[in-house]
Symmetry: C2
Subunit: 182 residues, 2 copies
DNA sequence: ACCTGAACACCGTTCAAGT
DNA sequence: ACCTGAACACCGTTCAAGT
C-alpha cells in the first residue's frame, strides 16, 4: 500500500470510529467519507462492504473481550457472581456501539461475514470462563459455548434496542446464570 | 371515514401484509403504496408512522398469542415441557415476520410506540402461564413477567437475525426454562 | 496506483394542486 | 374530504475521468 493510500485509510477508520460511536453501526457511509475528507469511491475501495469497515473500527475489541474473560477466570468470586460479572462485562462491551449486537448475531451463522472472526473470539473467551466453572463443578453441563453466547448476545440486543441501563439488564442475566449453574 | 377512503385503507393494509410477509418489517413503504395502487401521500395520511402500519398488519396477532397462552395454561404436560412449548410458540409466532422481534423490543420501553399495546398483551399472556406454573409450585419466583418476555424476545431476535430453525432455538430456551423452574 | 465526484436508482416524507 | 404525484433531501454504490 502506497503511503498516501495508507494515510487515507487511517483517516477513514478514524472518522468511522467517531461516527459509529455517535450514531451506531447503521450510520451513513457517505457521512463517514465526508468526515474523513475523502470521496465515497475511496471508502469503497478500502472497505468494499460495511462489515469490512466495522471490522476495522472494532480491531481492539478482541483484546478487550479477552481481558474481561481473563479477569473472570482469575477471579476468586463464588460461581454465580463470577458468571454474572462476566456476562455483564460482555453485554456492556458488545453494547458499547449501538447496532453492533445485532450485527454480531447475524455474523454468527454466516461464515462469509467479516465479523465472523469476532464471534469466534467471543465463543472461545466464553468457553474459557465455562471451563473454569466446570472445574469447580459449578456447571450443569450440556450447554454449548456458542449457544450461551447467542443467548447473551440476544440480551445485548434487548439492552441496546430498549436503551436499558445495566441494572435493568441484570434480572435477565440472573435467569440465564441460574439456568447454567448447578 | 368515507367509503372510498375505507376502501383505500383496506387495500393498503392488504398490500402491507403481503410485503411484510415477503420482506419483513423494514420493507419499503413506497413499495407498499405502489402495490396498493395508491399515492405515497395516501399511505401517510392513513398511517403517519411506519409502526402505525405494522400495527394494523398485526391486528390478529393478539388473538393468536392469547390462544397459544391458553393452550399452555390448559396443558397437562409437566412444568418444563409446558414452559418450553409456550416459549417455542412465542418465538415462532413473533418471528414469523422478520424484523418484528426487534421492533417489539424497542416498543417495550417506549410507551409512545403504537406497538406498545402488543407488548402489554404479550406480558399479560406470559403472566397467565407463569401464574399457572406458580400454582403448581414449579417456579423459582422473583422474575417479573416483563423481564421474562424481554428475554424470550431477545431469543426471538437471535432466531430472526441468524435465520435459526426451531431445533437450533431450543437449547437457549432450555437454559432459560431451567433458570426459572425450581 | 490511487483518488475524485458526478451520476444512478432508490428511499422516506411532504405538499400544492386537483376531484 | 380525500387523493395524486411531482418534488426534496437523503442514502448506497459505481465508474469514467483525472493525477
Amino acid at each position: 500500500m502506497r503511503a498516501d493510500a495508507r494515510r487515507k485509510y487511517d483517516r477513514i477508520v478514524e472518522a468511522a470510529t467517531e461516527v459509529v460511536v455517535e450514531q451506531g453501526t447503521d450510520a451513513s457511509l457517505n457521512e463517514v467519507a465526508r468526515r474523513a475528507g475523502v470521496g465515497p469511491g475511496t471508502l469503497y475501495r478500502h472497505f468494499p462492504t460495511r462489515e469490512d469497515l466495522i471490522n476495522a473500527v472494532m480491531t481492539n475489541w478482541v483484546e478487550r473481550i479477552q481481558a474481561i474473560a481473563e479477569a473472570a477466570v482469575g477471579s476468586t468470586q463464588p460461581p454465580r457472581g463470577l458468571l454474572l460479572s462476566w456476562f455483564e462485562g460482555v453485554v456492556a462491551h458488545i453494547g458499547e456501539h449501538s447496532g453492533f449486537p445485532a450485527r454480531l448475531i447475524a455474523a454468527m451463522d454466516d461464515p462469509q461475514s467479516h465479523l465472523h472472526g469476532k464471534c469466534e473470539v467471543l465463543i472461545a473467551a466464553n468457553a474459557r470462563v465455562m471451563h473454569r466453572l466446570s472445574a469447580d463443578g459449578a456447571l450443569r453441563g450440556g450447554a454449548d459455548s456458542a449457544e450461551i453466547c447467542r443467548l447473551v448476545m440476544g440480551i445485548a440486543v434487548v439492552a441496546d434496542e430498549g436503551k436499558l441501563a445495566p441494572p435493568a439488564v441484570h434480572p435477565m442475566l440472573a435467569i440465564v446464570a441460574d439456568g447454567l449453574l448447578t
